[in-house]
């Protein structure tokens, strides 16, 4: 006989608990990954902008613009970086990676501003643009545009992997819970089956006539066996009384 209600309640409890853990962990993961990866990308872009800015000082003062262009051409090969432009202190665009030309949105901006800004460039996409001053700004500034679509894709991929892992843990956890609840409920079911069988024969041929399969529970040395023996004792004595040997004292009191 199955202990359906107990099983269902326990299973529902476990399912709810795992669901809550999974959902809250996923939300936390999404938030953490999104925040950290975005910050990391912006931070990396700022590092790159600063590296170019530091290198540009020497190039602008001692060398030529083709060297500067060569430098930014190498950095723009880094995945995620879509454009770089370098301006001088007068706001003139000295080197850039735009083709066929510098977008109007950028030309309309303030090239000396090195704060991080979000940009939407028609035909190119959405970008996070970071800047770094050259020689504290007196020699110009370097601006680096990171492709937010690529950042979003990376974040989605990272989040997807985490959610995938959590989902696997959730499914495995539910199946494990079902198995464990089943394992725990089976002795209780045996006791119940024994009690029902004895009750059916009460006033008849006595409990010895009960199906031996159900009687096996009396041989168990766990709580189920004690409960069955207590039930038998009560039945024989017509009600609760002295606890039989091996029965839990609490159960007889």
């Amino acid at each position: 006989m199955k202990v359906k209600k107990l099983f269902q309640k326990t299973l529902f409890g476990v399912f709810s608990l795992f669901g809550f853990i999974g959902l809250s962990t996923s939300i936390l993961c999404v938030y953490t990954v999104d925040t950290h990866l975005s910050e990391e990308y912006v931070s990396n872009s700022q590092d790159i902008a600063k590296t170019i800015a530091d290198a540009s000082v020497d190039i602008l003062l001692n060398r030529d613009l083709s060297t500067l262009q060569s430098l930014i051409d190498q950095f723009v090969e880094i995945q995620g970086i879509r454009y770089i432009y370098v301006t001088n202190e007068a706001g003139e665009y000295l080197a850039h990676t735009f083709v066929p030309g510098i977008p109007e949105e950028i030309l309309a901006g303030d090239p000396s501003n090195t704060e991080t800004v979000d940009r939407n460039l028609p035909g190119m996409g959405d970008f996070v643009e970071v800047g770094s001053p050259i020689l504290a700004g007196v020699a110009g500034a370097v601006h680096v545009g990171m492709d937010t679509d690529l950042i979003a894709l990376k974040i989605q991929r990272a989040i997807g992997q985490q959610v995938y892992l959590i989902s696997i843990v959730f499914v495995v956890g539910v199946f494990a819970a079902i198995w464990l609840v089943n394992l725990a409920a089976r002795p209780v079911g045996d006791v119940l089956a024994y009690a029902v069988a004895v009750a059916r024969d009460a006033g008849g041929e006595g409990e010895e006539a009960v199906d031996p399969r159900h009687r096996r529970v009396l041989e168990r040395d766990d709580e189920a066996g004690q409960l069955a023996r207590l039930f038998l004792h009560c039945l024989r004595n017509g009600g609760p009384g002295e606890a039989p040997s091996g029965a839990p004292s609490g159960a007889a009191s």
């Binding site: 001692n62 060398r63 030529d64 613009l65 083709s66 060297t67 500067l68 262009q69 060569s70 051409d73 080197a95 990676t97 735009f98 083709v99 066929p100 030309g101």
Partner: protein, 412 residues
């Protein structure tokens, strides 16, 4: 992929006499070349190679340089920086050539120069690269290269000065989005600055763009700037595409190109399939760093034409996979020819036994050397560029000829 010239055998190179420096044996000087032999700019590498080969074959046929043949080990970089760096590593460290010669392009050479500094203990020099950019003309890498041709700064300054002189002050720039384009852009900017002007408009294209690609966006950007002239800093495929679309879209102003463009290839693309291509070529003006190969009054031009006809050098077969029909003569092959001629002169001045360390002294010993083009060549510690003159050419009767009168041709 590499190929050799004039029967070069690697085994013979490796068997060099211990008394000689790397890359030179008792019978050979081995030079290393990385250039564009594939892709949209392959015409530049092929023609430069052919011009140099004509002179080397001539010299080799006459007992070489002091009894040593000149062999050229070539690699294809497709005019791309990374393969160029890789080829240079191979030439320096594995092939151990005597010197590097005839590299093509600014983005490639710009990336190779730091390697020469990194391995400066080997004493490797880059001779006569096919680029007029500044990095190999000034510190910190100027000491590792010797240039023959005039610089882009000189070419662009000449173009701008002449345009301004004939009343064309609003000058726009169409350029390759890389170090080469920026070098020319900077030259135009500086030249205009000297006239109190600024670049009127600018548009760029990606390196490797084919002639078939549309240049409409670039033309529209420049058209909006209403320029009096456009200076193009690019290779022939893209510049021909730009000239085509400019005419088609009504941008009827003089279009200038630098020597690097490869004038004959540019003209060929613009003329192909047209009964009368003058509409597309009449407003072209190309600066050159060598005189016109049509001017047979110049001794070196006569020699060049003679040797090109006699040897008709084949492009390096293993490297040239795409169809290419060489030109009997071209500005690029003439430059390669003059490069080879001066290099042979330098090699002949090396003391025995020849070593890389002796190259600088041999170059600096070249004073007032007559290369046969009128302008004399001199080198020294503060002078690492042999020629200074810039020539201007326009299309007349389907070929580039010397421009004599800017006023008459381009005045507003």
């Amino acid at each position: 992929m590499a190929t050799g010239l004039a029967g070069l055998a690697a085994g013979r190179v490796l068997g060099a006499s211990a008394a000689r420096g790397a890359g030179v044996t008792d019978t050979e000087f081995v030079l290393g070349m990385s250039a564009a032999f594939s892709g949209p700019s392959r015409g530049l590498g092929i023609e430069l190679y052919r011009g140099a080969s004509a002179f080397f074959e001539h010299v080799n046929g006459r007992d070489g340089v002091g009894g040593r043949r000149v062999a050229l080990k070539t690699y294809d970089d497709g005019y791309q920086p990374d393969p160029s760096v890789k080829n240079t590593m191979t030439l320096m460290l594995e092939d151990e050539v005597f010197l590097l010669f005839g590299y093509v392009g600014t983005p490639t050479v710009t990336r190779v120069l730091p390697m020469l500094k990194k391995f400066q203990d080997r004493g490797m020099y880059l001779f006569f690269p096919f680029t007029g950019a500044q990095p190999q003309r000034q510190p910190p890498y100027g000491d590792f290269a010797f240039n023959l041709r005039a610089s882009y700064a000189q070419e662009t300054a000449g173009l701008v000065d002449n345009f301004v002189r004939v009343g064309r002050r609003r000058i726009a720039v169409f350029y390759q989005a890389d170090a080469y384009g920026r070098s020319g852009w900077a030259g135009v900017r500086a030249a205009l600055g000297r006239h109190g002007e600024r670049i009127a408009g600018e548009a760029s294209y990606r390196r490797g763009t084919q002639f078939t690609a549309s240049m409409r966006p670039q033309v529209e950007i420049l058209k909006a700037a209403e320029p009096d002239a456009v200076v193009c800093i690019g290779a022939y495929a893209a510049c021909a595409g730009f000239a085509r679309d400019a005419v088609d879209l009504g941008l009827r102003v003089p279009i200038a190109n630098l020597s690097f463009v490869g004038s004959e290839n540019l003209l060929k693309l613009l003329a192909e399939g047209r009964d009368d291509p003058r509409e597309y070529t009449d407003l072209l003006v190309n600066s050159q760093v060598v005189p016109s190969y049509e001017d047979v009054s110049i001794p070196a031009v006569r020699e060049y034409r003679d040797l090109m006809e006699r040897y008709d050098p084949e492009p390096p077969g293993e490297l040239v996979q795409e169809a290419y029909t060489p030109f009997p003569q071209s500005f690029v092959s003439l430059e390669g020819f003059l490069n080879a001629k001066l290099l042979v002169e330098v090699l002949s001045r090396l003391e025995e036994p020849p070593t890389r360390r002796g190259l600088e002294q041999a170059v600096f010993s070249v004073k007032d050397f007559d290369l046969g083009i009128g302008e004399r060549v001199s080198f020294g510690p503060e002078r690492r560029q042999g020629l200074q003159q810039v020539y201007y050419t326009v299309v007349d009767e389907g070929r580039f000829v010397t421009l004599d009168d800017w006023q008459k041709r381009f005045a507003i």
